[in-house]
């Protein structure tokens, strides 16, 4: 069984959409990160990491979420799979996580960071950037 894995998801060219990736980058450099924990700064296709997820004691995903919550706040997404009819082309991170749970049996917890703005740009919005330390605290607590 491989050690726990953290995957940050998102497109870092689209502002807060890359919040999960940015959080993972910071986490990987954080001296408080327990030894043995692996961290991946992923893109937008979680299924690419199916092999990495297999045979893990657990996996934590961090992704961006558009919600009513305050920008930069993070919550556990516990919904079941969304109805696919909501998407023409691709599987959402929620669906991909559910699919990987079914296929690999690995416990996967998906956290969503509420975004302020997911528009063109390589920087996070100040609201989300300011909350990164708290996001990291929460993920480290989870670990």
């Amino acid at each position: 069984m491989k050690p726990p894995l953290v995957i940050g998801l998102g497109n870092t060219l689209m502002g807060d959409d890359g919040a999960g990736c940015r959080a993972a980058e910071r986490l990987a450099r954080d001296p408080r990160l327990p030894s043995g924990i692996e961290v991946i700064c992923g893109g937008t296709d979680l299924l690419r990491y199916a092999d990495e997820i297999e045979n893990r004691s657990r996996v934590i995903l961090i992704d961006a979420i558009e919600s009513e919550a305050e920008p930069g706040s993070m919550s556990l997404i516990e919904d079941g799979p969304e109805e696919r009819r909501e998407h023409a082309h691709h599987l959402s991170a929620v669906q991909q996580a559910e699919l990987l749970r079914v296929m690999t049996g690995t416990p996967i917890r998906l956290f969503g960071i509420s975004v302020a703005s997911a528009t063109l740009g390589t920087e996070l919005s100040p609201a989300v950037a300011d909350r990164l330390p708290a996001i990291l605290d929460r993920i480290l607590e989870e670990l």
Partner: protein
């Protein structure tokens, strides 16, 4: 008047997906909205040096990042007059094939097949028929492995550079890929079995114009500088440098994607277009598989694009094997990228991304910095054709129940394998 709206094709505020307006049984209007991320990324590369461009534009799409990278390189090399080595051409083609295998496996098994079998999605399919999903994930994994070996990493390849590759694959890596591909040949056959067993999707017929890269070889995704357009048996050729006369883009009020048409007709790009334009490879095993899938070309049913993708899985695996055999036979040379001498000028490249024709065109200054950039994605090229097929799908639907029409429209949309939501993918509540 009644209106059917499918909102979730696009994922940017204020932009819907498909809207159908009906006056009694008559279809009065059909609109398809596209958020076209690549257009918005173009300002990001303006002023950037040539070697900074591919890593930025590869992020247009997580699934097609290799195609964007290689098309970007090809455009820059065209602008600077760089001719890459035959080995680089082969490795780039191999990278394209890996991406195509990955993309088609993902699309067919996780997105399209659940529709045919009336599952709400891939998760439900996996719970009930895990073997089908495992088959898809195995093929996807092989596609990823090819991209990692050649491109340096699976997402956004870093090893493909202007003029060649930073590092060429080692002999043992190629041998390992060959063994994976030999196994995958059986999986690609199994994909045909599965596709042949699906209920027919026979609810949208329309004469269709097809456009694909005209390659000097059998069916290259990378080599070639001309597009062939097939209309009702007639063939026209458009050089890459004259791509504007292929696309004839027009802004439409309801969509971020401009609509393309050739000689007044929307056209379809992608797997079905490739097989229609380059049928020379459809012999032997592929001809048998085509018969099993009851596919005849040129097709008048956009749903046949799913069958064409399944055929391309066989073809991609075969072609990738051929390339590896050739590299092993010739011996892999430890080549450095060709020297780069920037110069002012314009370069345009056209390739076949998994979803169809991809165009990158850049204008450079004498220092090799981007003055202007134009990127046209397959989904943007397909937008007008999709809209036409949505209209035909509704017109030919005898039932006027919203749920039936919605499902058919979504199946047609998925058959095109559109890539709408690549730039922003966040979970939306």
């Amino acid at each position: 008047m009644s209106v059917i709206v499918i909102e979730h094709l696009a994922r940017v505020e204020g932009h819907g997906g498909i809207t159908v307006e009906l006056e009694g049984d008559a279809v009065t209007n059909v609109r398809f909205d596209v958020f076209e991320g690549s257009r918005l990324l173009e300002p990001l590369v303006r002023g950037k040096r040539y070697d900074e461009v591919p890593p930025i534009l590869s992020r247009i799409c997580a699934i097609c990042s290799a195609a964007h990278t290689l098309t970007s390189l090809k455009a820059t090399e065209a602008a600077f007059g760089i001719r890459v080595s035959p080995q680089t051409e082969l490795l780039r083609e191999l990278l394209f094939r890996g991406e195509s295998i990955e993309s088609h496996a993902l699309h067919l098994f996780l997105l399209a097949i659940p529709d045919y079998l009336n599952y709400p999605g891939a998760v439900a399919l996996a719970a009930d028929k895990p073997a089908a999903v495992l088959l898809g994930l195995r093929l996807k994994k092989l596609g990823n492995r090819i991209q990692e070996t050649i491109g340096g990493r699976a997402v956004h390849p870093v090893n493909a550079l202007v003029g060649g590759f930073g590092k060429v694959p080692a002999l043992d890596q190629l041998i390992e890929l060959r063994s994976g591909l030999l196994q995958a040949a059986a999986d690609a056959d199994a994909a045909i079995d599965l596709m042949a067993s699906l209920p027919a999707a026979d609810f949208c017929h329309s004469e269709t114009v097809y456009a694909a890269l005209r390659s000097p070889h059998l069916d290259s995704y990378y080599l070639g500088d001309e597009v062939m357009v097939v209309t009702d048996g007639n063939r026209a050729i458009v050089p890459a440098s004259d791509y504007a006369s292929l696309t004839n883009e027009k802004a439409v009020p309801h969509s971020h994607a401009k609509h393309s048409s050739f000689r007044g007709s929307p056209f379809m790009v992608g797997s079905l277009a490739r097989l229609t334009v380059n049928p020379r490879r459809l012999t032997g095993k592929l001809a048998v598989a085509m018969k099993r899938l009851k596919l005849s070309l040129p097709a008048d049913n956009p749903m046949d694009n799913n069958k064409a993708q399944a055929l391309e899985l066989i073809n991609d695996v075969e072609r990738a094997l051929e390339i590896i055999e050739q590299l092993l036979r010739d011996g892999i040379k430890d080549e450095r990228p060709m020297p780069v001498q920037p110069r002012a000028g314009t370069g345009t490249a056209i390739t076949e991304a998994p979803r169809g024709l991809l165009i990158h065109s850049y204008q450079y200054d004498a220092d090799g910095c981007v003055v202007a950039a134009d990127v046209i994605t397959p989904t943007a090229l397909n937008a007008a054709s999709m809209e036409l097929h949505f209209r035909r799908g509704v017109e030919q639907c005898a039932e006027r129940e919203e749920a039936v029409i919605t499902k058919r429209l979504q199946m047609i949309a998925r058959a095109y394998d559109p890539c709408i939501s690549c730039s922003v993918h966040l979970v939306r509540r």
